[in-house]
């Protein structure tokens, strides 16, 4: 039965499009919608139906998934006049996979519940590469029963699928994930800059330190590209900043002191001040390089 759930997909951006494709490939009947309609074509060509609106998608789906940019977008596609909730049948599920504020998520979930619709927050980590490869980490919050119902769909998208707790716990976990990732990134940048300053060969440095007690996903995945001067985005600075703003808001609300994460957030402001918000997050190194009077990676001769 769960194999045959009809799935709806709202938002076919960098993350949404490949994830929706994996759901389709896994055999779920799929209806999609995207604000820019042309982005639906690859999915409809592959066998998905096109919806007229989020509301239309939800009316034809047992499980409706939203994956859009920021909090206002999520509110619009779920709670708006043409939003998913207005079309969702009682007993259906809405799953928001965007990264937004945990407290807003809880409010949206409450509104869904009032209308007999279950909601999960299920943000992801792993970037567009992970989205394409189906290796995302999925962090879900909501009722255990709802989570188990949606699990087969999650398993079509990701490798690590965790039920983190009640509504909002997925978003809360994602914020922790982003804070940790941000500081691991700064670690990588300061380590490489200290290496360059000391006259070390950066590639040999990475070889020596990546598999030991300094090891991290950032060091293994971002650092080799970084020391080649490749600052192209896997994940953009401006999106990381959006997420760190959410981290800082949660920290402010709950009185969690996060001096390190705040520092990274500020240093990334400097990357954006240089007009580099569309670069990959490894562009953080350019700030440390400038502070140390080294020529920043990616700068023309």
């Amino acid at each position: 039965m769960s194999e045959r759930e009809r799935v709806g997909f709202i938002g076919l951006g960098i993350m949404g499009a490949p994830v929706a494709m994996n759901v389709l490939k896994a055999g779920f009947p799929l209806t999609v919608w995207n604000r820019t309609a042309s982005r639906m074509t690859p999915l409809t060509d592959a066998g998905a139906a096109a919806g007229d609106s989020p509301r239309d998608v939800a009316s034809r789906s047992d499980i409706t998934i939203t994956i859009v940019s920021d909090t206002p977008d999520v509110e619009e596609v779920i709670l708006g006049g043409q939003g998913a909730l207005s079309g969702a049948a009682k007993g259906s599920v809405i799953v928001d996979m965007s990264t937004i504020s945990p407290s807003v998520t809880k409010r949206i979930a409450a509104r869904c519940r009032e209308n007999g619709v279950a909601m999960l927050d299920a943000p992801v980590s792993g970037g567009d590469t992970g989205a394409k490869a189906g290796t995302l980490s999925i962090m879900a919050g909501g009722e255990e029963e709802t989570f188990e119902r949606v699990r087969p769909v999650f398993e079509a998208m990701g490798r690590t699928v965790t039920h983190c707790g009640p509504s909002g716990s997925g978003q809360a976990t994602k914020l922790c994930n982003q804070a940790i990732g941000a500081l691991n990134l700064l670690a990588m940048c300061e380590g490489i800059v200290l290496g360059i300053k000391q006259g070390l060969d950066p590639e040999r440095l990475l070889q020596a330190v990546s598999n030991g007690a300094a090891g991290s996903w950032a060091l293994k995945n971002l650092a080799p590209r970084t020391v080649k001067g490749d600052l192209s985005p896997g994940f953009m600075v401006k999106l990381q900043q959006k997420d760190l703003r959410l981290v800082m808001e949660a920290a402010r609300e709950l009185k969690a002191a996060m001096p390190g994460t705040a520092l990274v957030h500020q240093l990334l402001n400097s990357v954006e001040a240089s007009g580099n918000g569309d670069l990959g997050i490894q562009a953080l190194i350019t700030v440390i390089q400038k502070l140390s009077e080294l020529k920043p990676y990616g700068e023309e001769e």
Copy 2:
């Protein structure tokens, strides 16, 4: 031929003792010395010879290894009146595996060279667990030829053995390793504290984030113990602080700006201020907990 090199070992502390044992087990004829003589017994029981002094050890060895605590100790056991250099034959090698200042290392290497003795700096990462298991990361600086001569001995101790460049490069690489590890540690601590503040179950949080883009050695190895309140040392705060002092000295000397690493160094001062310098480095979390008015791990009810 290289299999039969006679090895000397000076310093049988937490790191030195298991490393020396692995060298002995690999079949190298071994002579050992330690300031506290009783620590030699397990090695001599296993077949090593006991030297009378660093000088005596070096006079009976082709490759003399020192692994002691800090810069003055290294200077004493190598350059002192009874030091290894005074006993080392021309053409022999001295290898210092302690973590000390790269600039002092270069000075010691120059003194060795004047006396016809080659020197490598080869600090390690991986803690006492890695030392026992023979899985250390070894970061070596010095002449390529000398490195290749000592390589079979290194391979008896470690899994990742890297020649990082000329004299001092091993220490320089180790400082990068320590800076990166320190910030990964802060990442782990701030992430866990934000999770607790948000009401997440810390173990589920770790499960959700450890294999994704937030992943690190610290998250995988230290975090599971940390969230159980286990602050016992793999690597002690006070030793991490010694290493971060060396990082800060190098950063100062070379004008490398390392705002994140400096922050960790300061926060660990606070751990030491609480009298917890002998705890494991994961005790950094107690500072973030205190700053956030959470009960610190390890504190009595």
